[in-house]
């Protein structure tokens, strides 16, 4: 046994090695990404690991591996599970032979997400077990148990950590790493693997018949625990259970749920020993609804009567507040303090030298009255530059654009989408836009990497997750194959070419694609690419503010003159947009 201080996702990855896992797939998404990053970067791997192009692809790959009898892990963020929902729902019918664990990392408070959905609802929907860890140690232990549980029940298991598990740290007790010795072998069984109506009706019935066994086995795992102390009780799940432990007094009973669905008889026995129970969980009232279903005349407090919030994340202080509002006295009080007002905000920002910034700048110049549907990636920060009008989900820039065109909206539409997002779910939208003759311009922001989530490789990168060379996909060829006639590739650091390409696109009918291709400035720096820095000649600078409005963190304004700070990466775009010619390479005259 070894004790280490680990990030939640590192502990989860280690749990997979202890299982051991045979097959790993997933699509990057905060807060889930580090699990595959760890597993794909270890030397001497006894298992297969890949970054897939999207979550549906990842899950279907993992499902097939599990059908072949090996232990498969599939990771994604909560919204990725929407993309993978199609195979998820029916995988519960077919079941698995090897263990299949689907890790869907939820993000209460939407720290880096477009919504706050609760993955536990998907497990309930699909009728599969869901494990919801309260601590990093539990996350580590659960993932290990999840593979065995999945095999025993013949069902996929949903593992649902949240941001405060994935991106928290703690001292974790680790077990020994085992070598994977399994090799997949498919045993033909059409009644299980071909879900035609005649088969699927039977499979559905079998899934429903399994449910009592599922509840019983989950109860035996030990992740659901109860301690009776008095006439009042708190019932909690996930990380919220850890917050409750921090503030619960000695005389209040506590029931903690880590495995869903809960054995309702066991839950009912506990609830009915009390006069009042308070349910504490983040996001949806999944546990609360079960508690209310068995409570009889016991008073239940929670979200449904307004004591606890449906949205956001909890904390010990928030839990103490909810307890007080129900007449439960927390063991600890928290001071009422507020932040110092009027501090200028420091939100995340596109890096100095980021290739996205000149693209947004040029789009706004050329398509002055345009509408700018965009997508999910670092470039969503183009919002700060007024160049992002819509973002809904992965791949929805092109589709939202074509929908606007056919709604009768007459302004020019310019959609922006990153390379990884285009490959994830953008291609179908492009094909559809061409097929249905939408007049619009699509700009693919191609920085050859999935940057936002931590620079994972994708099919444009030329490397697999494990670093093996792979022939990079040609975005030009993909676009042409979708039927796009106008496909231009430009260097976004070259403002003249970029502007010309956009103007050309503006004049043409149909769907036009411009591929703005340049390395992510962070990966370029890591690869040792150094461009000379730029500086402002204060004599020539007129203080017009054009470079300031460009929004680069390397450009500052002091005493009505611009200046360039040490963040400059030498992209030279500011020098090209300065009307006075006041920005030059360091050392140049």
């Amino acid at each position: 046994m070894e004790r280490r201080y680990l990030l939640g996702n590192e502990a989860i990855a280690h749990g997979c090695l202890e299982s051991p896992v045979s097959f790993v797939s997933g699509y990057p998404g905060t807060p889930s990404s580090e699990v595959i990053e760890v597993l794909s970067s270890l030397p001497d791997r006894s298992y297969y690991a890949e970054w897939s192009v999207n979550e549906k692809v990842a899950l279907e790959n993992a499902l097939a591996a599990a059908w072949c009898g090996v232990r498969a892990l599939c990771t994604m963020k909560h919204v990725g599970l929407n993309v993978a929902a199609d195979p998820l729902m029916t995988s519960a019918y077919t079941g698995v032979t090897g263990g299949l664990v689907i890790m869907s990392a939820d993000d209460p408070f939407a720290h880096s997400s477009q919504n706050e959905q609760d993955s536990r609802m998907y497990a309930k929907f699909a009728r599969i077990p869901c494990l919801d860890p309260a601590t990093i140690q539990e996350a580590h232990d659960m993932i290990r148990d999840a593979f065995a549980l999945s095999e025993e029940l013949g069902l996929p298991v949903l593992f649902r950590p949240t941001t405060r598990i994935c991106h928290s740290k703690g001292d974790v007790e680790l077990g020994p790493v085992l070598q994977n010795t399994r090799k997949g072998e498919f045993h033909r069984n059409p009644r299980q693997y071909v879900v035609i109506p005649a088969h699927t009706r039977i499979l559905h019935k079998k899934l429903n018949e399994k449910q009592p066994e599922v509840r019983k086995r989950l109860g035996e795992l030990g992740y659901n625990q109860a301690a009776v102390k008095g006439s009042r009780a708190i019932i909690a799940s996930g990380i919220a259970a850890s917050y409750v432990r921090e503030v619960i007094p000695e005389d209040i009973s506590f029931l903690k749920v880590g495995a869903f669905p809960v054995d309702e008889d066991w839950l009912a026995d506990f609830v009915r020993m009390h006069d009042e129970v308070l349910v504490i969980e983040e996001l949806a009232p999944v546990l609360e609804e079960t508690v209310r279903g068995v409570a009889g005349c016991v008073t239940v407090y929670g979200k449904k009567d307004g004591h606890a919030p449906y949205e956001g994340e909890l904390s010990p202080a928030a839990v103490a507040g909810i307890m007080s509002s129900c007449g439960f006295t927390p063991s600890r009080t928290f001071p009422q303090v507020s932040p110092v007002p009027d501090i200028p905000p420091r939100p995340p920002i596109l890096c100095a030298g980021c290739m996205h910034r000149p693209v947004f700048y040029a789009i706004k110049k050329v398509f002055r009255d345009g509408i700018y549907p965009s997508d999910i990636g670092c470039y969503t920060l183009g919002l700060q530059l007024g160049a992002v009008d819509t973002t809904i989900c992965m791949g929805a820039s092109i589709t939202v654009g074509s929908g606007m065109v056919h709604s009768g909206e007459e302004r020019e539409i310019v959609a922006t989408i990153g390379d990884s997002t285009f490959l994830h779910t953008g291609i179908q939208g492009l094909m559809n836009a061409v097929y249905n003759d939408a007049r619009m311009t699509v700009v693919i922001l191609d920085n050859r990497i999935t940057a936002m989530t931590g620079h994972q490789p994708n099919p444009t990168t030329g490397l697999t997750a494990c670093g093996t060379p792979a022939a990079p996909v040609s975005l030009e060829a993909v676009c042409r194959a979708c039927g796009v006639g106008f496909v231009e590739t430009v260097d976004p650091y070259d403002m003249a070419s970029l502007t010309t390409a956009l103007k050309d696109a503006k004049e043409r009918p149909g769907v036009k694609v411009i591929i703005a291709k340049q390395h992510c400035v962070i990966t370029a720096r890591r690869a040792g690419i150094r461009r000379g820095r730029y500086q402002v000649d204060p004599e020539t600078c007129t203080g017009c503010g054009i470079c300031i409005a460009f929004g680069c963190p390397a450009i500052e304004r002091h005493d009505e003159k611009a200046s360039v700070n040490e963040l400059c990466s030498g992209c030279a775009v500011c020098a090209q947009i300065c009307p006075a010619g006041a920005i030059r390479k360091e050392g140049a005259r």
Binding site: R3, R4, Y5, T30, P31, E34, H111, S112, R164, H167, S168, K169, G170, D171, I239, S242, Y243, R245, E246, S315, P316, A317, R332, F334, P335, Q336, V337, S338, P339, V340, D342, I343, P344, P345, R346, P347, P348, I349, L350, C351, C378, L381, Q384, M452, T453, G454, I548, A549, G551, C552, P553, I555, E556, R557
Partner: protein, 194 residues
């Protein structure tokens, strides 16, 4: 009360707050103590304001509540001010005497408090100002400013300096061990006077 010692480390994405929190966590392991932490990952790191929570002897969740931190280590003065309400009454703040002006100030023409104004606001609490960038250069690399700050703050931590130093030597890149050892020691000396 939790009985633990809660440390907030705040700064700007890329300044090394995560390495600093790893060092504290490793030092806890060396002393066979429990520890919990939480930090900012993902896009928020792109030049944004970041925070790491480290709970020495922590047993429950990773989050430190506002108004309860024992120690605040800030790599930037403006970030020190932004998170100053996390400090408990009687808590201490160790702050790097530098300020990166947020781009929002230039682009949106937002008012920015002067350095003197910020220092006078920070000084309402128990404040230790350290010129960590200068000390780091003296140690051999400006990149060691985060370790300088840990050295300066080490006097207030319930962790032995030896444990911290061992943790640093385990976690920094091998070719920077000498520089970071010096950074810790110089930082510790600089923090002595607070």
């Amino acid at each position: 009360m939790t009985g633990g010692y809660d440390i907030m480390i705040v700064g700007i994405g890329g300044q090394g707050t995560i390495l600093a929190s790893n060092i504290l966590g490793e030092a806890c392991l060396i002393e066979k103590r429990t520890v919990r932490g939480a930090e900012t990952h993902g896009m928020a790191q792109r030049g944004g304001s970041v925070e790491s929570h480290v709970r020495v002897d922590g047993k429950y969740g990773p989050l430190i509540a506002p108004g309860t931190a024992d120690l605040l280590i800030a790599f930037d003065m403006l970030e020190a001010l932004r998170y100053s309400h996390y400090l408990k009454d009687g808590g201490m703040m160790v702050v790097n005497r530098r300020m990166v002006i947020p781009t929002s100030v230039f682009v949106q023409k937002l008012p920015l408090p002067s350095e003197e104004e910020i220092i006078s606001q920070l000084a309402e609490k128990d404040l230790c100002l350290i010129d960590a960038d200068t000390v780091a250069r003296e140690a051999g690399s400006p990149l060691s400013a985060n370790v300088v700050m840990l050295g300066a703050a080490s006097h207030r931590m319930p962790l032995a300096a030896d444990s911290l130093l061992t943790a640093i030597q385990r976690l920094v890149p091998p070719n920077t061990v000498v520089i970071n050892t010096r950074a810790f020691e110089l930082g510790r000396a600089a923090g002595q006077t607070c």
